[in-house]
Assembly symmetry: C2
Homo-oligomer: 116 residues x 2
DNA sequence: TCCTTCCAGTAGTCTAGCTATGGGAAAAGC
DNA sequence: GCTTTTCCCATAGCTAGACTACTGGAAGGA
């Protein structure tokens, strides 16, 4: 059923938003959260998630710290920075702007196109 | 103002939908239509549009035919095929499915996350 | 004659998500 | 005790597809 793919350009937003909800969390927990909140429509592959987190560290949107998970495992906890929160607000706003624009293009219910 | 970018993965859908509205149309007309319907939020670059149309020809979603534009210029008119219409329905449906999923992740209004 | 508008296309770059792979440690099953 | 599963991290290499920058040409008006 669910192909469960992440549309390019939305992963940062999903991760940032998850961290805002969850507080400091490790990668695995972020992925679980996204999958659960989306009712399994979205599935974040590890090969997408960890590189994205690395880039986000470099961009300064998150900070990382090693710790122990609730399951007593070594885990790297990511925490939103101020820049990360700012980025999240921007991304959501831009996302909604573009989605509304796309909707305006595809929505004008299929007039049968009588032309010709 | 408008960065006017096309989210990767949505261009086919926008083109297919434009052709459904307009009937057979040349590339330039498709681009204008998308820009107008989106109130200039979306701008399709020629370097994105024409390669996409080529790929759509190969996939069999459109057929092309040379003709004369309303401005008396040589133009290549693209027409939806049956497969193209089927594809459009699928793309819109999948798009909405994924957008709803993303909304479920980002929407749960920012509870202040009192945690620490 | 020049400039703008209209129209088509290609080459090469880059972002970023994916597959595939390789760890390793804790808990649970046998 | 041994094995399997679950949890957790990370990288290398591939690929789709949108972008910039460019070439090219004809119509029509200034």
């Amino acid at each position: 059923m669910g192909k469960a793919e992440i549309p390019p350009g939305t992963l940062y937003m999903l991760i940032l938003r998850s961290l805002e909800s969850l507080g400091p969390m490790h990668g695995y927990g972020i992925a679980l959260h996204i999958e659960r909140m989306s009712a399994s429509v979205l599935a974040v592959e590890e090969g997408s998630l960890y590189p994205a987190l690395q880039r986000m560290l470099i961009k300064g949107w998150v900070k990382a710290e090693w710790g122990l998970s609730e399951n007593n495992r070594r885990a790297r906890y990511y925490r939103l920075t101020t820049a990360g929160r700012r980025q999240l607000v921007e991304e959501i706003s831009e996302f909604q702007r573009v989605m509304e624009a796309i909707t305006r293009v595809i929505e004008p219910a299929s007039e049968p196109a009588l032309s010709t």
